[in-house]
């Protein structure tokens, strides 16, 4: 047991809460369920804060081995590590997770007891999985946490089991992220093959000495995993439909866990990507396009949760840009700020939608400033941070750092910078638009049912997160320095142009408010609102052919048509097994010994009927056989040597 054993305890409270809630063979009342969930989340947050305290005090490369297995020449050494990256991300995850679970206490108050238990169990597992992944010192723990998060997101998105839409959304998220998981697994296995170990530092070092071609393959595979998890451009379709889950789930999924995992993966393997400039350029371009795409589609949304979902695609795109230009530290700083304001936006939007009778369209937000002032003003603070209002919001500082790192990254950087500027302006537009709608008078035709006022469990996280999303800009510089990079010096013109883009976006939102015909044109642009119908194209190109293939292979008759074959792939092994049974099992099933005995038994009736013939019933015959018997005995006696007369 090493002196760093306490490090292994950090994810334990959440996992223990999951075990208690999911598998505890005892009845728990609603308050007990809440207490267990809350204790799991906040104990972990406290441990993580203690860990970050240790890390900040100097020694920040701790390693706590779990166990080590030697397999041939390979060494499988599982461990948790605490380095600056894990500290920053882990602390953010733990605190945001704690806030989200506290908020859920109020939000999920009306859920049935069994559903409540299920919900909090998965939330805790989700949190624990993310922390395990963040602190993983080896690829196995990393992948376990990664997969566990995918599983939890499936369960949580499909939480509302009576809603087929929710279940389909969960399945979609699971299948698409699973596609990325396969790529990630392939990349990690290639690295393992190369390094003969699973420690991440060993994997990165092995990757640096690989031949460049193979290194690029590994980098592309890892990138594929990250893009699917982070819902970046080719794989983004699962995120908007994932809104079918409850709001706290979205808050956790979009801010600190799940979608941020892809960015974290890229940051974790940053040295590997730094050695493959062509993949790095692709990373940056994917990020830039995703951020523009997400921001553009978000402007056209009518549902606040969908708007925030596209906003997540866009904001993760910013992180990917900054990783692509070789500044993962800035990306992590933006991750922290984004986790704060995005969870805040989801939580406050959830509260406002709850007050508006459960409607989540943007129009229903109107009047929220009077219905739910705390939620509305914290939403405004979050939106300001999302828009990046200059100087006074945290979002501006992290976004400026990203723009600065992009503009100082050569010729490609300037293209990225201009794309990012477009995204910044659009972000300001949609963020401001939602806030302006909320400030207006209520347009609800029917008065929503009276809902109880939000309690302390709802309001405290909102207020604290709002304060952090305004003042968190002070953290950006220290985080970047803490992660071991020099803070990018922002060129004056980049800062001015960035601020101008934000103000332009904000004024565009005001213009939309002033001119309703523009807004109505936006509301009619259904194609853009549906994300350029990429989802439908995927459905047509991939999902339906695949489904047809599956049906065809199964020989299922659909619409009167049948393939005429019943599962040729599946049938071959079955037929082979049947043949083997016929050849071997049947041969062995014949019992030769038994057959001999059966034949003997079959002879008994014949023998008895034969011997019965001797029983004539006549005295003379018996006398004759008697005489023969006596004669035989006498002959025997004459021959026998042991009788006395010899």
């Amino acid at each position: 047991m090493s002196s760093n054993f306490w490090l292994l305890l950090v994810p334990v409270p959440t996992l223990a809460a999951f075990m208690t809630l999911a598998f505890g063979p005892f009845w728990l009342g609603p308050s007990q369920v809440r207490a267990v969930a809350l204790a799991g989340a906040w104990l972990t947050a406290a441990l993580m804060l203690a860990a970050s305290g240790v890390c900040a005090s100097g020694t920040c490369h701790l390693l706590a081995p779990v166990f080590t297995v030697k397999v041939g020449t390979a060494s499988v050494a599982l461990a948790l590590i605490l380095d600056p990256l894990a500290t920053v991300v882990g602390t953010t995850v733990a605190i945001v997770g704690g806030f989200v679970i506290s908020y859920s206490l109020g939000y999920m108050a009306r859920a049935r007891l069994a559903d409540l238990r299920r919900f909090f169990a998965y939330m805790n597992l989700f949190l624990g999985a993310m922390l395990t992944m963040v602190m993983a010192g080896d690829s196995i723990n990393f992948f376990l946490g990664w997969e566990m998060m995918g599983l939890c997101s499936f369960f949580l998105i499909g939480y509302n089991m009576s809603l087929p839409r929710a279940f389909a959304a969960g399945r979609k998220a699971f299948v698409i992220t699973r596609f990325g998981d396969v790529l990630l697994l392939a990349g990690l296995l290639l690295l393992f093959y190369e390094a003969g170990g699973v420690r991440i530092d060993a994997l990165v070092n092995a990757a640096l000495v690989m031949p460049p071609g193979r290194r690029s393959v590994v980098a592309v595979l890892l990138l594929g995993g990250a893009l699917a998890k982070s819902a970046q451009l080719p794989f983004h379709t699962w995120l908007p439909v994932a809104m079918a889950g409850p709001t706290p789930v979205s808050a956790l999924l979009h801010s600190a866990t799940m979608v941020a995992a892809g960015a974290f993966l890229l940051a974790r393997f940053a040295p590997l990507f730094a050695a493959t400039p062509e993949v790095l350029a692709a990373v940056a371009m994917v990020g830039a396009f995703s951020s523009c795409f997400g921001a553009l589609v978000a402007v056209f949304q009518t549902d606040v949760k969908r708007m925030l979902a596209y906003s997540s695609i866009s904001q993760i795109g910013f992180m990917i840009i900054s990783i692509g230009v070789g500044a993962p530290q800035v990306a992590i700083a933006h991750f922290v700020i984004h986790a704060i304001f995005k969870s805040l936006l989801f939580l406050s939007a959830g509260d406002m939608a709850y007050a508006a009778g459960g409607r989540t369209d943007i129009a229903a937000l109107a009047g929220s400033s009077t219905r739910r002032p705390i939620a509305y003003f914290s939403f405004a603070a979050g939106a300001a941070s999302l828009a990046g209002l200059p100087l006074i919001t945290a979002g501006w500082w992290s976004k400026e750092a990203i723009l600065a790192s992009a503009v100082s990254a050569g010729p490609l950087g300037e293209i990225l910078w201009s794309l990012a500027l477009i995204a910044v302006a659009l972000t300001a537009t949609y963020a401001t638009r939602a806030v302006l709608v909320g400030a207006g008078p209520s347009t609800l035709l029917a008065r929503p049912p009276a809902v109880p006022p939000a309690g302390i469990a709802t309001n405290a996280p909102l207020v604290l997160l709002a304060a952090a999303s305004l003042a968190g800009g002070l953290l950006v510089g220290p985080i970047v320095r803490f992660l071991g990079a020099a803070e990018p010096d922002t060129p004056a013109f980049s800062a001015i142009v960035g601020a101008a883009a934000v103000l332009l976006g904000v004024s565009a939102a005001f213009a939309l408010r002033r001119h309703p015909h523009l807004a109505s044109r936006i509301a009619r642009a259904r194609k853009v609102r549906q994300g350029f119908r990429i989802d439908a194209v995927y459905q047509q190109r991939f999902v339906r052919p695949f489904r047809h293939l599956a049906y065809w292979l199964n020989g299922v008759r659909r619409g009167g048509r049948s393939s005429g074959i019943v599962d040729p792939l599946g049938a071959v092994p079955v037929l082979g097994i049947v043949w083997l049974v016929r050849r071997m099992i049947h041969w062995a099933a014949v019992d030769r010994v038994d057959r001999v005995w059966m034949r003997l038994a079959g002879m008994v009736p014949e023998l008895s009927s034969f011997s019965r013939r001797s029983q004539t019933g006549r005295v003379r015959d018996y006398a004759l056989s008697l005489i023969f018997g006596i004669a035989a005995l006498l002959l025997l006696a004459l021959k026998s040597p042991r009788l006395p007369w010899h």
Partner: protein, 102 residues
């Protein structure tokens, strides 16, 4: 007694036994079979006496007495059976009493 006279007597005894056996096997009348049985028993009895006289031993004559007792018992049972057969089924043919056969 010489060995030769003993041999002659044993031959006579064997002949008596063979004649008696022949009678038992060939005749079907129950009464005649009983008589043949008496003749048959006389053979061994003669052999016992001859052997006892040859060895100067009284055991041969003792065996003859035992044989007489056997023969008396046998005849008593046989005649009783014969009487029962005559009275119940009015048969004297031993072959016709084969009901014990399965």
């Amino acid at each position: 007694m010489t060995d030769q006279s003993l041999a002659m007597l044993l031959v006579l005894a064997t002949t008596l036994f063979a004649v008696g056996l022949f009678g038992v096997l060939v005749r079907r009348g129950v009464l005649l079979q009983l008589i043949a049985l008496e003749v048959l028993l006389a053979g061994p009895a003669l052999a016992f006496i001859a052997a006892g006289a040859r060895r100067g031993d009284a055991q041969g004559q003792a065996m003859f007495v035992i044989l007489l007792v056997f023969a008396a018992a046998e005849v008593a049972i046989g005649l009783a059976l014969y009487l029962r057969l005559r009275r119940c089924a009015d048969v004297s043919d031993s072959d016709s009493v084969s009901q014990l056969r399965s």
